[in-house]
């Protein structure tokens, strides 16, 4: 079946955060228009070629405009982009259309424009409700600007929004973290995503935090995580994926598409797609992308689908079947069976008939559990 999800990457930011290793650049406003044109050209060329081969497009159930900071781009440019997309794809009436937004970039007119185009979900990079933590993270916005952004999107008529957080940041105490969580809840978001800080190679943080002693320990990170899970659970959020929590019915369709190991289209610099059983990626070089947006490289071949599926679905609270373990495991049947019991006794997993799912505690050691079973 052809994909039902599309990812669009917008690689522009006001400033580059020191922990970010994703394809994004600051001070490239002069390239906005050229970039959107390149995106349009990529969509046009690839879709025409793809559908000409006889592939039947499926109606789209989710579109995610991620970044970078997509909210920097004015709506009229998106209008061009959307009209190109609509030439090739049919969007379902309840299609989830998400746009990422960073506090400090929210513009009332832009928001109204996005809404008009069909955007119906906003993901706000709040990261923290503590000024000191924002500073440590190198975020250039204040807590007040985050609050202002939430008000603006509500005023523009958006009711479905997500708040993004980072925990396990140097200097973060349990109290600071708890305050941020409660502050987030006070805005009643439909969705909360929260990641522990990862020190990525090639980022300024790699050098600043060369010595792991200056970072919170894994044990601390785990305490923060458990606090998050517990608090959100008590407040009516479902922990439906390792890092994602939602009010019932507001789980992100786009995210679920990834974790269910389904295919998806992707356009833009550095974007990764999964199409026709192949995972391919676009160049990470912005100038190269603008001059030729059609080059792709294969990132993984051949794909071990069963392995990927268990790796991805194990992140979801719906879990995975015992049969899917049998398909990929290199371990002895008896060993796996004992291990499942041990993991259950240890409170890492729960078993319902032939379905396994990870508990909150289990989710934070997701890899460790997979390694025990496969």
């Amino acid at each position: 079946m052809n994909p039902e999800s599309i990812y669009i990457h917008i690689p522009f930011c006001k400033t580059k955060c020191p922990y970010c290793d994703f394809a994004s650049w600051a001070k490239k406003e002069h390239l906005f228009e050229e970039y959107i044109d390149a995106l349009i050209s990529e969509i046009k060329t690839k879709c025409e070629a793809y559908f000409a081969m006889g592939n039947l497009p499926q109606p789209i159930h989710s579109l995610f405009i991620g970044g970078g900071t997509p909210s920097l781009i004015p709506p009229d440019l998106y209008e061009k982009l959307f009209s190109e997309l609509k030439k090739h794809f049919q969007f379902l009436n309840d299609c989830e259309i998400t746009m990422e937004l960073n506090p400090g970039t929210a513009n009332d007119n832009f928001l109204v424009g996005y809404k008009k185009l069909g955007v119906n979900r906003i993901s706000i990079g709040a990261q923290s409700f503590n000024e000191k933590i924002l500073e440590t993270l190198g975020r250039k916005h204040s807590v007040d600007e985050t609050i202002e952004a939430i008000e603006k999107i509500k005023n523009a008529g958006f009711t479905n929004f997500n708040l993004d957080f980072i925990f396990s940041v140097p200097g973060m105490t349990k109290q600071i973290w708890e305050e941020s969580i409660y502050k987030a809840l006070s805005f009643n978001p439909k969705h909360i995503s929260s990641y522990s800080l990862i020190i990525e190679p090639g980022t300024p943080f790699e050098h600043i935090y060369k010595d792991p002693k200056n970072l919170p320990t894994d044990d601390t990170a785990s305490e923060f995580y458990m606090l998050l899970c517990q608090t959100l659970n008590e407040n009516g959020y479902k922990h439906y994926e390792v890092s994602n929590f939602a009010k019932s019915g507001f789980e992100s369709k786009h995210n679920l598409n990834y974790w269910l190991a389904k295919e998806y289209y992707a356009f833009g610099v550095g974007a990764h797609r999964y199409l026709n059983g192949l995972r391919t990626a676009n160049t990470k070089d912005l100038d190269l992308y603008i001059s030729n947006p059609n080059i792709e490289t294969i990132v993984d071949f051949p794909i071990n689908y069963d392995f990927e599926k268990i790796m991805l679905t194990s992140r979801l609270n719906q879990g995975f079947s015992l049969k899917s373990i049998e398909r990929v495991t290199t371990k002895d049947k008896h060993y796996v069976k004992n291990m499942l019991n041990t993991l259950t006794e240890g409170g890492f997993i729960e078993l319902f008939e032939d379905n396994v799912h990870l508990t909150d505690k289990g989710m934070f050691v997701n890899n460790e559990i997979l390694l025990k079973l496969i």
Binding site: I198, D218, A266, G270, V299, M311, G346, V365, E368
Partner: protein, 600 residues
């Protein structure tokens, strides 16, 4: 019959780093046996492992043709020798195939313990020795002092000493002339029944065992039916020839010559040291000059993946064809499953063998800590030998334990004497003697348990002497010691493969060091892992590895799940290097923790 053969068979004796391989290369180059272009640096060290470690383990042999100043053509066979304390046995095989030896001594380092031991072996074999002082071009060179040292310490005549630089090629021609002039030619016994001394062998799947040998008497031709005198099996020679150092097929090999032969030889356990003869003109007596190797260090080798047991068995069989000094016997461990107890000449030998098994046979192995053979007397006077600490009978079932002792010689600059004596003391050494070799250098002599030497003594010696000390030892027999078995329990389960036999006075301290080292080496797991050391059921030390709390990829950036997958695959690969014991995964290094204890 009485014509002298224009053949010279010789080897090189040198301490590690004194320039043996460089000289060998220079000889090959000068005689044109191998061109500069073909020469990777140091052709004779042809195993990757040897080149990496800068040592020679497997023997290599090269035939050179040389026109001497007397106008005659000579064949010079260089039989290479290993230069490490573990490989005395291999040295003895090479020596037995030669009439002479070049003794290389570094012009600034002087005579080292190992050099001395090998010269004595050469003298026992009645070899003519040509002293050569190498690296005379270097700034710190003191050739005259070193020459006197050779006279005083070794007691050989140095009137014919040659000063060379193998690196620059200085006086290499003099070395070649000296080989022709001083080393006696082989006896011309071509009419006697054929006898060849086997000094090396290795296995190939297509040609069977390839034998390296020195013909002493008679001749062997392609097509001859041969047999080995310690072994009644018969084979037809399918191929034989010279080693230059590649294999150069010939029709026959005659008395005095050195070469290889093949004959689809299979199912022969050990050939090295044996005598090859023909069945049609069978010799009556085997050649002498052979000292069998006695493994002194034992460890368990277990496949991490139990399915690899047959592969390991096959690999050990083949390795033994190539290195007859290795011994192996099946054993089983509660913690590690089926494996082998293997015997080696020393610690380096053991490490090299393990690395070869892993590389050449793609095995993932757990090696347990090295042990010696303990002699245990039970109550009714019955004496048993224990190669595996796990099998030591309980204290109430034994009368006494004896362990092997060695006579240890250490050569070192005098400023490190204090440091090194401290080390020897800590390792239960019994001081015997200290003497000055010259104003700066000292020879220390100790009686010491072999078990102490094989647990990282050499590294300790090197670090306490800034790398200047050298050592050599020989087995002197068994002595009674106050020994106990230290057991290790992981997650409450005894892990037999981690048991160690230690001196009772040091046992609790040793237990603390060991558990603390294991805590470092065993990675955090899903569950807390207690580690205990116990003597006779009484816990003497305890540590805990806390549980892993985080191992997850938080985020999938823009649909890039490949990164996550690669990390997971890498972690999975890492786990393959670990052995599951109960529900605990123990990395390979942990089984060698005993060797990495600091303190003392």
């Amino acid at each position: 019959m009485s014509t002298k053969l224009n053949i010279r068979n010789f080897c090189i004796i040198a301490h590690i780093d004194h320039g043996k391989s460089t000289l060998a290369d220079r000889l090959l180059e000068t005689t044109g046996a191998i061109s500069k272009r073909e020469m990777k640096a140091q052709v004779l060290d042809n195993m990757d492992l040897e080149r990496e470690r800068g040592i020679t383990i497997k023997l290599q042999t090269a035939r050179m043709e040389y026109k001497a100043n007397d106008g005659q053509d000579y064949v010079l066979n260089l039989i290479d020798t290993p230069g490490h304390v573990d490989f005395t046995y291999e040295v003895s095989r090479s020596l037995a195939a030669c009439e002479g030896a070049l003794l290389i001594v570094d012009a600034s380092q002087g005579v080292e313990a190992q050099t001395l031991a090998n010269v004595y072996l050469a003298l026992e074999n009645k070899l003519e020795i040509i002293p050569i002082i190498n690296k005379v071009d270097l700034p710190g060179a003191e050739p005259e002092r070193v020459k006197k040292e050779i006279e005083d310490l070794i007691g050989i005549d140095t009137s014919n000493v040659i000063y060379i630089s193998a690196k620059t090629g200085l006086n290499i021609d003099q070395v070649l002339e000296a080989v022709v002039k001083y080393i006696p030619p082989p006896r011309n016994t071509i009419d006697l029944p054929p006898r060849g001394l086997i000094f090396d062998s290795y296995f190939e799947s297509y040609r069977g065992i390839i034998v390296y040998f020195r013909m002493f008497d008679g001749r062997i031709k392609v097509g001859d039916e041969i047999s080995f005198m310690a072994n009644e099996k018969k084979f037809i020679v399918s191929e034989l020839g010279y080693l230059n150092p590649g294999q150069l097929p010939q029709k026959e090999l005659k008395a005095g010559e050195v070469g290889y032969l093949a004959g689809f030889i299979k199912e022969v356990s050990s050939l090295v040291g044996d005598t090859v003869t023909t069945t049609s003109n069978r010799a009556t007596e085997p050649l002498i000059g052979y000292r069998p190797a006695v493994p002194m260090v034992f460890c368990g080798l277990y496949p991490i993946d139990a399915d690899q047991y047959p592969v390991l068995k096959d690999a050990l069989e083949k390795l033994k064809l190539n290195d007859s000094s290795i011994s192996y016997e099946p054993e089983s461990s509660g913690a590690l499953g089926l494996g082998f107890r293997c015997g080696f000449l020393g610690l380096l030998h053991m490490e090299v063998a393990q690395e070869r098994l892993e590389r050449e046979y793609k095995l993932n192995l757990i090696a347990t800590a090295p042990s010696v053979i303990y002699r245990v007397t039970k109550h009714k006077g019955e004496v048993i030998e224990i190669e595996n600490p796990a099998f030591l009978p309980d204290a109430n079932h034994r009368e006494k334990i004896e362990e092997p002792f060695v006579l240890l010689h250490i050569f070192l600059p005098n400023e490190f004497v204090g440091n090194v004596m401290e080390l020897c003391q800590a390792r239960r050494g019994v001081f015997k003697d200290m003497k000055y070799i010259d104003t700066k250098r000292v020879q220390l002599t100790y009686d010491m348990p072999l078990a102490e030497i094989i647990t990282d003594f050499f590294d300790g010696l090197k670090s306490r002497s800034k790398g200047y000390a050298s050592m050599d030892y020989e087995l002197i027999g068994y002595r009674e010691s106050k020994l106990v078995k230290l057991d290790v329990l992981i997650a409450g389960e005894p892990v037999d493969a981690l048991s160690a036999i230690v001196h009772s006075d040091k046992a609790p301290y040793f237990g603390r060091l060991l558990t603390s080292k294991l805590r470092e080496l065993i990675p955090r797991q899903l569950f807390e892992v207690p580690i205990q050391a116990a003597i006779g059921g009484k816990v003497v030390a305890r540590e805990t590895v806390s549980a892993v709390k985080k191992n997850v990829i938080a985020k999938c950036y823009g649909g890039d799940i490949t990164r996550k997958k690669k990390l997971l695959e890498k972690q999975k690969e890492g786990k393959k290097r670990m052995k599951s014991v109960g529900r605990v995964e123990i990395p390979q290094e942990a089984f060698m923790a005993v060797l990495k204890l600091e303190g003392e």
